[in-house]
Amino acid sequence: MTPTLTAAPVLSAPLVVGVAIAYLAALFAVAAFADRRARQGRSVIGSAWIYALSLAVYCTAWTYFGSVGRAATTGVWFLPIYLGPMLAMVLAWVVVRKMVRIAHSYRITSIADFIAARYGKSPLVAAVVTLITVVGIVPYIALQLKAVSSGFAVLTGPAGAAGGAGAAWWQDGTLLVALALAVFTILFGTRHLDSAERHEGMVAAVAAESLVKLAAFLAVGAFVTWGVFDGMADIWARAQTLPGLHDLMRLGGAEGSASFGYAQWFSLTLLSMLSVVLLPRQFQMMVVECVDERHIRRAAWVFPAYLLAINIFVLPLALGGMVLFGAGSASQAETFVLTLPLSQGQTGLALFAFVGGLSAATGMLIVETIAVSTMVCNDLVMPTLLRLGAFRAQAGGDLTGLLLAIRRAAIVGVLLLGYLYFQVAGEAYALVSIGLISFAAVAQFAPALFGGMYWRGATRLGALGGLLGGFLVWAWTLMLPSVAKSGWIGDAFLTHGPFGIAALAPERLFGLAALDNLSHSLFWSLLANVSLYVGLSLWRAPSGREASQALLFVDVFARGRSAADPIFWRGRARPDALMALARRLIGPEAAAQIFAAHAHTAGVADPTADARLVDAVERRIAGAVGAASARVLVAAVAEEEPLGTADVMEILDEASQLRVYARALEEKSRSLEAASAELSDANAQLRTLDELKDDFMSSVTHELRTPLTAIRALSELMVDAPDMEEAQREEFLRIIVAESERLSRLVDQVLDMAKIESGHAEWHAVDVDLAAVVRDAVTATRALAQARGAEIELAAPSTVPPLKADPDRLTQVVLNLISNAAKFVPATGGRIAVQVSADADGVEVRVADNGPGVPDEDRDTIFEKFRQGGDALTRPPGTGLGLPISRRIVDHFGGTMWLEQRQGSGACFAFRLPYRPKKMEETP
């Protein structure tokens, strides 16, 4: 990538360096702020938006600079790299969520850890995955360093050209960038040992970088589109006039769509689909740093939307650049983002664009090196140290410091390795090719990782075979040719095959020449990978440990964190040995915490080292050194019984039985709770009913006993005094008869009331002329009223519209009201006014008397049972049930009964019946 296409104004190197340093310092500040907030428990990254932005670490310098370059030479071919992630994110809620759940349940810290943990916590699998990662990713890291250094070169002109042969190493900007980033990464990536404690500062910084690179790219895009040109259509119109640019926007280029490399298109889509999850930095951000798996739901569409936004101006920039610089500039299109603003004299914008590119590169470098260094430390260095007995040598010492040192060294090592690759092979390839080689390398993880999440039968052997087979084919068909093409080894084998065996020619394996390099390599490597993975898995049954891990992974959603979860461990361990191990690896406080938590759950003060405690310690250590190393360390301090597949099934059976019991218990207790709530509700209702009943019975008893008392007492007196005077005897007999009548009336009414209340009363609803009913009732009661010296005045139309009601019941109501009135009229001059009136809705009947009226205090209770108006002496005989029964009858036919307020002029009871009751009331 040779800079300066035009005689553009060039920025001074110190300015560019100063801006870059200031920008990195600002990132430091963001990260430090986020870390401080995290320590205070007020995380700033607990949002789906931040999570989605942190996923945008996918867009590296490769996107930032490379997309435009690719678009300038191949048209829409830059797109599959972003359509793949789009398609992958559609499935994120299903797949990524499961990965996150697994990783968080078992404290998984890297993709190597994930795959190794699945296959029986195999150190060998972890080491293989790590090696593939390092080999595959180092070129990608080199690519970012290259982008930063060439961007710097473009801005500063020939004077600042980095890495020149004559420059001393301290003048090498790329090396300084690498070292500065190493320091940054060490500061924010290896603060804590337990990687499961997330790197909040780093996530916040990366999210901020994602915003910066998007803003910068959009700014340049908008400037070129509307500042330099007159919109996208203008760019296209002018581009069409250039030779060759017209066909750029067609699938097959100038040769037409028949020559469209759809296999490569598909390969690119598939590769990027896998890479967005499998690249170490993507796994780190998407799985390890995920704060809350619910964030996945929103990030699933926000992240693709980000990708869309950052790609909107790729074509306008590519075409615009070629319009401005000439069609021949396509090979230098990778720097258009910088050279376009520069050529317009916009140095500030160019500087901003450089900062955007710096963001893209540093974001990727930081996360990638943290992820890779964790893998190198946990899965390469630690196992080696364990094997060498380094830990036993300093038994009892605190290892946390050593672990951190290893990890920091790994960070520096990985970055330096990238720098070395950049120095050695840097100029050989365009950005895009390097990226794709890395993509194809990590794609080899797909069968072992996704297969392991869904296929219980997959074994360690299958995973190892698949990984190694796929990796070797990848190296042979893609890596070696790229090395050969950069001139470091002879490229004769490319055309003639090794030792002249044409069938093994790397880019035409078995003569398969129809595919492009990438599709060819992807096809053969994944074919070998999947075949070995499936074949070897089916060949040998999984061991007990593999089977148990398979169950934990595949069924992760089926398991909660309850005591009924299976713990696949058998043997004996001394608590003090476990404690010592935990102290050495995670520090005394955290170790004490585990033991205290366990003692709390187990309910004992001094925990015995049972399977659950061993599991807790192992999981926690796994967060520091990886699952595989943790397994080796725990096995060293415990006497373990080898676990066979049968044992696994047995443990699982026990656990699932326990689960079933626990669930059944839970359900039972829940339904019992519900039942008891219902019962207590019912009980309360019954109690209320019972109280009502009790009151009613008590009242009835009282009302029955009162006449009985008189009857019995008078009868006994007559029996005891045969010499009683005749007049006296007659008086007594008269009272006895009256009280007997009262008694039987009472019994009738109580029964009537009971029938109505229980809903057993018989109702005969026929058409009733209420006026006629009232007239009959008045005729029937006239004699009674006259006996009390009262006159009944009737004011009623000859007929009123018919109602649906029971005439006998209505007669009962009217009789009741009239006789009630008759009881209260004064001894002389009593008047009872009965009035019937009809209107559009119904008929109203009023019975008024000129008696004393109802005292205010009785108004509210007059319709209750056994409430009689007036005091007992002056009160005429009654049962106290007449009015309640009347009211219930009126209620039944949809009407209402009330007592009218008439100041000082006696009582007036009234009721109203509608022609069309809203609903025949079912009496309760």
């Binding site: 008893t701 006993r705 019995r712 006296q728």
Partner: protein, 138 residues
């Protein structure tokens, strides 16, 4: 024959008895009964009047209905026991309610006896006599 109006029977005195009930027919029977036994009978139709009569006439014994309008028998009983001038009055509580809670209330209010309606006239007379005898002996 002895009529209610002529307390001509032999006896140490003609003790005053107050009948307090709101049911006229029961009053009739009680009045007849008590007069036949030679007591001087006073009648009150409700609780307030009963209390007035007790304070004014100082009857030896009160036949007190528990459920009366205005002031219940229980209230009257409590008021009598609280009034030093009349607290010695014998009180026989009559009630048509037979529930245990009512009984407890009556005893708690300080009645000397508790009779449920309907009652045996002979037993009631017997009880009244005994109480008056015990009262005069004391």
């Amino acid at each position: 024959m002895t009529t209610a109006a002529s307390p001509s029977r032999d006896g140490p005195a003609h003790p005053k008895v107050l009948i307090a009930d709101d049911e006229p027919n029961i009053v009739v029977s009680l009045e007849f009964m008590m007069k036949r036994e030679g007591f001087e009978v006073l009648v009150a139709r409700d609780g307030v009047k009963a209390l007035d009569a007790i304070r004014r006439e100082h009857p030896r014994l009160v036949l007190l209905d528990a459920t009366m309008p205005g002031m219940s028998g229980f209230d009257v009983c409590e008021a009598v026991r609280a009034d030093a001038a009349v607290s010695g009055t014998c009180i026989v509580m009559l009630t048509a309610k037979g529930r245990e809670t009512d009984m407890a209330r009556g005893v708690g209010a300080g009645a000397d006896a508790y009779v449920t309606k309907p009652f045996s006239t002979r037993d009631l007379v017997q009880k009244v006599k005994e109480m008056l005898a015990r009262d005069s002996a004391a």
